[in-house]
Subunit: 297 residues, 2 copies
């Protein structure tokens, strides 16, 4: 069965879950789907499985047969594809779609935040990254990953809290209530226990401590304040640099965004505006833009 | 063949190599041996193989049969045994020695540095850690490992240089010559290449950048200065805390020690004295002390 009308599928594929949105030619939402990790750095097979799983859910929910997959014009924003080797892995996938346009999760977040128009976006969640899209040019900053970047992110705040707690327990920094709360949260009693338990964890495990750190900073805990102000300083500098590209708007998204915003420098804070649409709508907008480009070519 | 005279073996077992020293009852060196990693966190079998390999070398060099191993009173200072689970692994080893006394690499370094007397020691190499041994009490500070500690160490300086270089390439920090030198050292051209190549490396790989950072700091490079001053601040605070235990002497050892010493705060710097003996002599001293304790018991 062939349909005349175009069907669009927007994919927001992150490190923990994959969200898809099925829309008709006018961009009206028909159905959604949700599955597991879809960033290729956790394995190409896993990413493909997650994408296909969420896609079938959406087709099914909309009352279409699975075989309709070959009618879909897909826009996919995937974490990790900013790194060439992961991009190359996905480019080699013999996908079942009518069209499959790949970009970063950052770009679809930016497209969504400004409803397809120019603008800048900062994602502050487990990691941190920023992008400005102005006059057809994209400028990406940060996003280098937990081990050498991601300052100001949830994972960064969490691991920094562990480092400062250990220093305070050694008597090298003043001990504040943050120390007791970190010990309570981790159920550790000694510095050695804490170091052993919290060494070499995944970024998402460290990020679980971030809300506690921000809460203690709000209560003027000096150790926590130092961490949050340092993290906010990075995000402020990131935002300021993005604003040099003259984007009409700047939005912040991600789990940490609402919590860190009030800590940003004044000049940056006044520029932050709410995102207009979620990333999966941004992915649909991307699919529509790329389909137009394909038709013109 | 039984010998009347006691034979002592001192083992300095680190993360990259194992050094042993064979000595007679008077503590005179008879022979040495050298092999691979001997810290149990890289695997108990590997550690045991390294210990036995270096021990046999020393026995052979001194003209003794391998079977003489059962005559040895051994003192072993091993990296990693400060963590209970690795200590437990080694305690369960059915060793072939007459006596096998285990302690940390830190303690034998401290014993060696002060020729068996009280004192404090800071090891600044790939990692960082400190200890004061005064009036029969040991106080250990730092040494929590690369992911949550080891500030001021070579690995910490190296990874911090990568983080600062990436920020400078993003235009979030002033770009100095450190950036060009890091790119030349790593043979990278873009921030993405650098982030991809330098993510999630072993501490020893990051530590290779430390000499470059210290060299640039000496040339007043602001990015490098910031790193080295931050690292030296941690080491100074660590030393100051160790000095509160009133050790008669303070020594610094490890590959970074001679390079970081001049950056320490004045009050700490004037207290640093050269180590009197290397760690493997410290291990012999430890074996002798423990043998005495065993005889009294």
């Amino acid at each position: 069965m062939k349909r005349q009308e175009k069907l669009y599928l927007g994919i927001d594929g992150g490190g923990s879950k994959c969200k898809v949105l099925l829309a008709n030619e006018q961009g009206q939402a028909l159905a959604t789907g949700m599955s597991g990790p879809a960033n290729p750095n956790q394995g190409l097979d896993l990413a493909i499985n997650s994408i296909m799983d969420a896609t079938e859910q959406a087709l099914h929910q909309a009352g279409f047969a699975s075989s309709m997959v070959d009618q879909l014009v897909v826009g996919a924003g995937l974490a990790g594809v900013n790194l060439p080797k992961y991009r190359a892995m996905l480019d080699q996938w013999d996908h079942p779609f009518a069209q499959f346009h790949i970009t970063t999760d950052l770009q679809i977040a930016c497209l969504g935040a400004h409803d397809g128009e120019d603008g800048a976006v900062i994602i502050a969640g487990t990691g941190s990254i920023g992008m400005a899209h102005v006059d057809g040019n994209s400028h990406e900053l940060g996003g280098y990953g937990f081990s050498v970047g991601d300052q100001g992110s949830g994972a960064w705040m969490g691991v920094t809290a562990i480092k400062q707690t250990l220093q305070a327990m050694d008597g090298l920094l003043p001990r504040t209530e943050l120390v007791d709360q970190v010990l309570e949260f981790t159920q550790c009693r000694t510095a050695q226990e804490l170091a052993q338990q919290m060494a070499n964890l995944k970024p998402s495990a460290y990020a679980k401590l971030a809300p506690l750190v921000i809460e203690r900073a709000a209560a003027k805990d000096t150790l926590a304040l130092d961490i949050v102000l340092n993290g906010a300083d990075y995000i402020s500098r990131l935002a300021r640099k993005l604003l040099t590209y003259n984007p009409p708007r700047l939005s912040m998204i991600g789990g940490l965004a609402p919590r860190i915003q009030s800590w940003l420098d004044e000049d940056v804070r006044v520029r932050v505006e709410p995102a207009k649409q979620p990333p999966e709508i941004g992915a649909i907008l991307f699919a529509q833009q790329q389909a137009l480009v394909s038709e013109k070519a």
